[in-house]
């Protein structure tokens, strides 16, 4: 990596606007290669010049922000999900968008499976039981339910979904899926509707993008179809699930449990969930490992470099 240029000589380094302050080690790694300016702090000249916007997190990137950047040609996002970016505006203006591509996929899939096992086998609750000394005083933790052989329905068979499928198939689970259209190469049963998928599944895993079509795709009807022993695992976006209804369904025993990495209004988690033994909660961490951070950094820099060099983008999103 070339040494950072002196502060007053920014001409050598290409200008990259930031939608929000990136995580410290991201900034440190990118500052040497690019002139980073927060979009909100950009003066008129800088805004008029900017061709690349780095979406460094999940803060919204609305049309209003994009409209202030007349020279914008590339939006490169650190996350996988880009539902917080006004994609319609990008499409209208011919702005290319890239995301994290495969950089996070395996880690996200690993965590999703971790949640499936943790919910079905009540690992977190059993751990709490032992830590509170109850094994010695109250006897064994109650029997849980087998993971192997469960019917798992995956919503969204993209990179993450197919990795979840492969992992759970190794557990002897019967995997089926729903997505916008069937994938001919996938060896799993396809269901054209999430409702039918849920009716035929013991566990539903959400790993699809959040779009207008998929917003609140898991509603009361779907949860009733999943049933009282059914488990919902969400590593996609909180918006995929009708969250107040989910809390009601858990409280009423309409579904049997949930593993949640994402919520409608992070970092706020419905407090009713804190008391539930059949729920495992995480703080939107499924995608993140230190190793995947390095991977995504390489990908982001790779996309930006490709753009400035006129080469094809590495992980473009189809708009």
């Amino acid at each position: 990596m070339p040494p950072p240029a002196p502060a007053d000589d920014a001409g050598d380094r290409p200008l990259v606007l930031l939608s929000q302050t990136p995580l410290p080690h991201f900034a440190a790694a990118l500052e040497g290669r690019y002139r980073l300016v927060l979009a909100a702090d950009a003066d008129a000249a800088t805004a008029a010049e900017a061709r690349v916007l780095l979406v460094a997190g999940l803060n919204k990137v609305p049309a209003e922000l994009l409209d202030r950047l007349p020279a914008l040609e590339l939006v490169t996002a650190v996350p996988v999900g880009v539902d917080h970016v006004d994609l319609a505006a990008c499409r209208r203006r011919g702005i290319a968008v890239t995301n994290a591509g495969p950089a996070f996929a395996a880690d996200s899939a690993d965590y999703a499976v971790g949640l499936v096992v943790a919910v079905l086998r009540r690992v977190a609750a059993a751990d709490a039981y032992v830590r509170r000394g109850r094994w010695a005083t109250d006897g064994d933790y109650p029997l849980t339910t087998k993971v192997s052989g469960k019917r798992v329905g995956i919503v969204g068979l993209g990179r993450i979904g197919s990795m979840v499928a492969r992992r759970l198939a190794a557990f002897g689970c019967a995997v089926s899926y729903n997505s916008r259209s069937p994938k001919p190469s996938a060896p799993y049963k396809f269901f054209p509707s999430v409702l039918d998928l849920a009716a035929d599944s013991d566990v539903v895993v959400l790993s699809c993008a959040l779009t207008e079509e998929t917003r609140r795709i898991v509603n009361r009807e779907v949860m009733e179809a999943l049933g009282k022993d059914g488990v919902l695992v969400n590593v996609g976006r909180g918006g995929l699930v009708d969250e107040p209804e989910l809390v009601r369904c858990l409280r009423e025993g309409v579904i049997g449990g949930a593993g949640l990495d994402v919520y409608e209004n992070e970092p706020d988690v419905p407090p009713e969930l804190f008391a539930m033994d059949n729920v495992v909660l995480s703080d939107h961490r499924a995608v993140f490992t230190p190793e995947s951070f390095r991977g995504v950094l390489d990908l982001v820099a790779g996309n930006i470099d490709a753009f400035f060099a006129g080469r094809p983008l590495i992980s473009p999103v189809t708009l």
Binding site: V113, A118, R121, V123, V130, R131, R167, L281, D283, S292
Partner: protein, 341 residues
């Protein structure tokens, strides 16, 4: 009561065979046993074991109990030892059926010399134990339970994200014991992109993983050690100071075998001193007691000897145990023999 059961036996034709029951069983299992056998239930009697066995043996001489108990259904774990003293006190026994996969509580040599057959739980628990082991491994590496605890305490909005764990893909996992459980663990971990090697008494010709004849070398070449072997004199404390040092900082131990397979004091010290990075433990040296030092650690996951036990495995076990007993009493081969007489 005894008269009633004798009459019931006579009314149904052949009297039900007598069975010693030295395992706690749930209502469904109890009903299934009593439908087929004349059950002498140790845990329902107030007598200590020697008196219980003596009474069972003595009852054979009376009209109330026309058959001496020829079979025993016993639990694993070591609370009851089927040893020389036990077999001396129950001389009519010809079959020991244990509800556990492990038979470290049964003196196989003594059974063999007395012509007593032994049957175990076979592979009834294997998938559940493998699932749990992999669940513990993911949990420790990715901090699933620790993050759950953090979120439940309301800390996410206050303190921000909980520290990250570590990627599974590419991790080198060393499995100690590649029996039915170890093989199922290996198969699952391959799908996560882990690199699997193993140690066992001897290499398994069909296993596609690298074999280490020495557990220390396995540990030195691993990021995670998974203990999935039976407990024997050879494997007692197989994970001790030497293996833990070889595993090194960043290393993780997962134990779904027996507490006795790990030197618990050394493990606690290694964790306290940061010489290894974490542990997922389902078994302990002195259950149900868990070292209090572990209960305060965020980098360990603790479950109470439940890896094997799901509603599904218990139902399968019930069927298998009764199948073994019925096979014995009808002169057919045992379904899951550990020892033929």
């Amino acid at each position: 009561m005894a008269m009633a059961s004798a009459v019931a036996g006579a009314a149904g034709g052949k009297p039900k065979p007598a069975l010693l029951l030295l395992s706690r069983v749930d209502a469904a299992f109890s009903a299934a046993l009593r439908a087929r056998f004349r059950v002498r239930d140790f845990y329902a009697s107030a007598a200590p074991l020697p008196a219980f066995l003596a009474a069972a043996a003595a009852a054979a001489a009376t009209a109330e109990d026309p058959q001496a108990p020829r079979a025993v259904l016993v639990a694993g774990g070591g609370a009851i030892l089927v040893d020389e003293a036990f077999l001396d006190a129950a001389p009519s026994l010809r079959c020991v059926v244990t509800t556990s996969a492990g038979v470290d509580h049964v003196d196989l040599a003594e059974c063999k010399s007395r012509g007593v057959a032994v049957a175990g739980a076979g592979t009834v628990y294997s998938a559940d134990v493998a699932d749990h082991a992999v669940g513990l491994l993911i949990d420790v590496l990715r901090r699933v339970t620790a993050a759950d605890r953090y979120v439940r305490q309301g800390l996410w909005p206050v303190r921000g994200d909980y520290p990250l764990g570590s990627k599974l893909g590419g991790k080198r996992v060393g499995i100690i014991g590649l029996g039915s459980i170890g093989s199922l663990i290996a198969k699952r971990l391959e799908a996560f992109g882990c690199v699997v090697s193993y140690h066992s008494r001897s290499p398994k010709a069909s296993a596609p993983y690298r074999y280490f004849p020495d557990v220390h070398d396995l540990a030195a070449d691993s990021d995670v050690l998974v203990v999935a072997c039976a407990l024997s004199d050879a494997t007692r404390r197989i994970v001790g100071r030497r293996a833990l040092d070889a595993l090194g900082t960043g290393g993780v131990v997962v134990n779904v075998a027996r507490g006795g397979n790990v030197d618990e004091r050394e493990l606690v010290a290694a964790l306290q001193e940061g010489r290894i990075a974490g542990a997922g433990l389902d078994v302990f040296e002195d259950e149900p007691h868990v070292p209090p030092e572990l209960m305060a650690m965020d980098n360990v996951v603790l479950t109470g000897h439940e890896a094997a036990f799901t509603e599904d495995s218990i139902a399968d076990l019930r069927e298998l145990m009764i199948g073994n007993l019925e096979a014995f009493f009808t002169g057919k081969p045992l379904l899951t023999p550990v020892l033929h007489p």
